[in-house]
Amino acid sequence: MLGYILRRLAATIPVMLIVAVLVFLMLRLTPSDPAAIIAGDNANTEQVEDIRRRLGLDQPILTQFVIWMSEILRGNLGESFFFKKQVVELIADRIEPTLSLALFTILIAILVAVPLGTLAAYRHGTWIDRFVMGFSVLGFSVPVFVVGYLLIYVFAIELNWLPVQGYQRFSTGVGGWAQRLILPSLTLSVIYVALIARITRTSVLEVMNEDYIRAARAKGQTEGKVLVRHALANAAVPIVTVIGLGIALLIGGVVVTESVYTIPGLGRLTVDAVLARDYPTIQAVILLFSLVYVIINLLVDLAYTFFDPRIRY
C-alpha cells in the first residue's frame, strides 16, 4: 500500500507542474499592469516604473518563472503586491473559514444526499423517486447566490434566527462559529446534495439488479437489509468517487458563497486578488486548491480499498 501511495504522490508532481505552468503563463500575459495599480491614484509614471522594477515584473517571462518556481519550492509564496503581507500569512489567515465551510457542507451533503438517493432508488418509479430527481435537477439549476439571498431573506432577515453574514473564529466560541456556518453551508450544499443524490440513486439502482441481490432475497433476507448491507455497500465506490469529484464543484461554490456571506476565506481572497490582479496571491491560491483537489482524489482512491476488498494496491 505504501508503495502505491508514494507512486501516486510522485504522479501528482507532473500534474502540479502543469498546473503551475498554466497558472503562471495565464496571468503573465494579461494586458493590465499591476505596478500602476499598486502605485496608487496619482502616482506619476516613474514611480510606477520603480515599482515594476522592484517587483521584478520587467524581467523576461522565463526568468520570472524560474525565480518563481524556485521560491515556491522553498515554500516562499512571495509577498502579495496588494495586501503588503506574505502570501503564506494571508492564506494561513483564510484557511480556517473555507475549511469549516467546506467540512460543514460535505457533512450536510452526505448526511442528506446518500439516504435520499438510496430511498429514491429503493422506491424507484414512485413519487419519492420523482421528487428526489426533481430536487436534484433544481439543485443543479439555481445559481448558488440566488439560493444564498433567498435563505438570508427568509432565515436571517424575516425570521431572524440566524446571523446575516460574517464568520466567527472557532477559537472564539463554538456556538457562534457553528451558528454562522449554518446558512452558508446550507446554501453551498444544495448543488452538492443534488450531485450526490443523483449518483447514489443511479449506482444503487444498478446494483439492485445484480445476481447477489436476488441471491440475498432467496435467503429470505428483509428488503431493508438487502438495501443497506448488499446494495449500498456495493454502491459505495461510485458514491465515494462523486464525493471526491464534487470537491472541485464545491471550490467554485465556496468562492460565491464567501462573497455573499462575507466569509473571509480563500474564495473571497481569490476574487479580491483577481480584481486587483495580485499575481502572487492568485497563483498561490490556485496552486493550493489544485493540490487539495489532487490529494482528495488520492484519498478517494485509498478509500476504495476500505469499501471494496477487490481493490488492493
Binding site: P14, V15, M16, L17, I18, V19, L22, V23, M26, L27, L29, T30, P31, S32, M133, V137, L138, F140, S141, V142, P143, V144, F145, V146, Y149, Y153, I157, T202, S203, E206, P238, A248, L249, I251, G252, V255, V256, S259, T270, V271, V274, L275, R277, I282, V285, I286, F289, S290, Y293, V294
Partner: protein
C-alpha cells in the same frame, strides 16, 4: 436437414427499418420534449426581443433609475410625439429597462451556453479520439487533462477572464470552455477504449479497414449520443458559470446584458429593489432547469448504458 428448412427461421420483420436513431428515441421522452420546448421558447424570446415591446437594453435615462415594476413613463421622441410605455420589470440603477435587458439577456446567455457546448464537444472529441486510439500519445494528453481538471473550473475561468480584462464575450467563452474540455476528452476516450474491444471493430481490422475509416465508421457513431447528452449538460453549466463570473464582477461588462450581470448589478439593492435579481434569476433558473431536464431526458432515452460514465 436441408438448407430450406433453415428459411423458416428468419422472423418476418419489415426490412430496412433503422435501429431507433437518436431522433426517434429522444422524441418519445417527456423530459426531452418539455426541456426542448422551453429552451426554444427562451431562444425565441431572445431572437424576437426587439418586437416584444422592448427598449434599447443599453439606453440610459438617469431620471428613471430604480423604478419598481409596472412604472409608466411617457417618452418624448425628438419630433415631439409622445409614447407611453410601461416598465414591466422596473428599471435598474442606470434607469435601463430590466424587462428589455432580461429578454436581450437571453441572447447572450444562450449564445454562451451553445458556443461553449459546441466548442468543448468538438475539441474534446478530436483530442479524446487521439488519446483513445493513439496509445503512445495517450499518457501525455491525459496528464495535461489531469492538470487542467485539477484547477477548479471557476478559478480557471477567473484566471482567464482577468487575463483578457474587458474583452467581454470572447474572454468569458474561452474561460468557460477550457475547464470543460478535459471532461469531454475523458468521456470520448473511455468510449473509444471500450469500443476498440468490440468484436465488430476487431472484425473490421481483420478485413483490412484502415484506422481512419475505422474511427469514422465504427467508433465515431458510438460517441454521437453520449456527446449530445454531455453537450447539453455543458451548455447548462456554462450559463451558470457566466452568471457566477458576472456576479463576482469579472464577467461580461454591463453594456451587453446577460442574466448574470443584470443580477450582479441588482445585488447591492436587493432588499430595496428586488426586481433586479428576481426576474433575471427566475429566467436563469428556469432555462438551466429546462436544459438539465433536456439532458436527463436525452440520457435516459439515448444511452442508458452510458449513464454511468457521465
Amino acid at each position: 436437414m436441408t438448407i430450406d428448412a433453415l428459411q423458416t427461421e428468419s422472423p418476418g420483420v419489415a426490412s430496412g427499418s433503422r435501429p431507433a436513431g437518436v431522433w426517434a428515441t429522444s422524441v418519445r421522452n417527456r423530459g426531452v420534449v418539455a426541456g426542448a420546448l422551453f429552451v426554444l421558447f427562451i431562444a425565441a424570446i431572445g431572437v424576437l426581443a426587439p418586437l416584444l415591446g422592448t427598449l434599447d437594453p443599453a439606453e440610459i435615462n438617469p431620471a428613471f433609475r430604480n423604478k419598481k415594476p409596472g412604472m409608466e413613463r411617457t417618452m418624448r421622441a425628438d419630433d415631439g410625439t409622445e409614447t407611453r410605455m410601461v416598465h414591466r420589470f422596473g428599471t435598474d440603477t442606470l434607469g435601463r429597462d430590466v424587462y428589455s435587458r432580461t429578454l436581450y439577456g437571453a441572447r447572450v446567455s444562450l449564445l454562451i451556453g451553445v458556443t461553449v457546448a459546441v466548442i468543448s464537444v468538438f475539441v474534446g472529441l478530436v483530442v479524446g479520439l487521439i488519446a483513445g486510439y493513439v496509445r503512445w500519445l495517450d499518457g501525455f494528453i491525459m496528464r495535461i487533462m489531469d492538470g487542467l481538471m485539477a484547477i477548479p473550473a471557476i478559478l480557471l475561468a477567473m484566471g482567464v477572464v482577468s487575463l483578457t480584462r474587458g474583452a467581454g464575450l470572447l474572454a468569458v467563452i474561452i474561460a468557460i470552455v477550457i475547464p470543460e474540455i478535459p471532461r469531454v476528452v475523458r468521456l470520448v476516450r473511455s468510449i473509444v477504449l471500450s469500443i476498440r474491444e468490440e468484436p465488430y471493430v476487431e472484425a473490421a481490422i481483420t478485413v483490412g479497414t484502415p484506422t481512419v475509416l475505422l474511427l469514422i465508421r465504427h467508433v465515431l457513431p458510438n460517441t454521437v449520443a453520449p456527446l449530445i447528452v454531455q453537450g447539453t449538460f455543458i451548455c447548462a453549466s456554462a450559463i451558470l458559470i457566466e452568471a457566477i463570473l458576472s456576479f463576482l464582477g469579472i464577467g461580461i461588462p454591463s453594456e451587453t446584458p446577460t442574466w448574470g450581470n443584470i443580477m450582479a448589478e441588482g445585488r447591492s439593492l436587493f432588499r430595496v429593489y428586488p426586481h433586479n435579481i428576481f426576474y433575471p434569476g427566475v429566467f436563469l433558473a428556469l432555462t438551466i432547469l429546462a436544459i438539465n431536464m433536456l439532458g436527463d431526458g436525452l440520457r435516459d432515452a439515448l444511452d442508458p448504458r452510458f449513464a454511468k460514465r457521465l
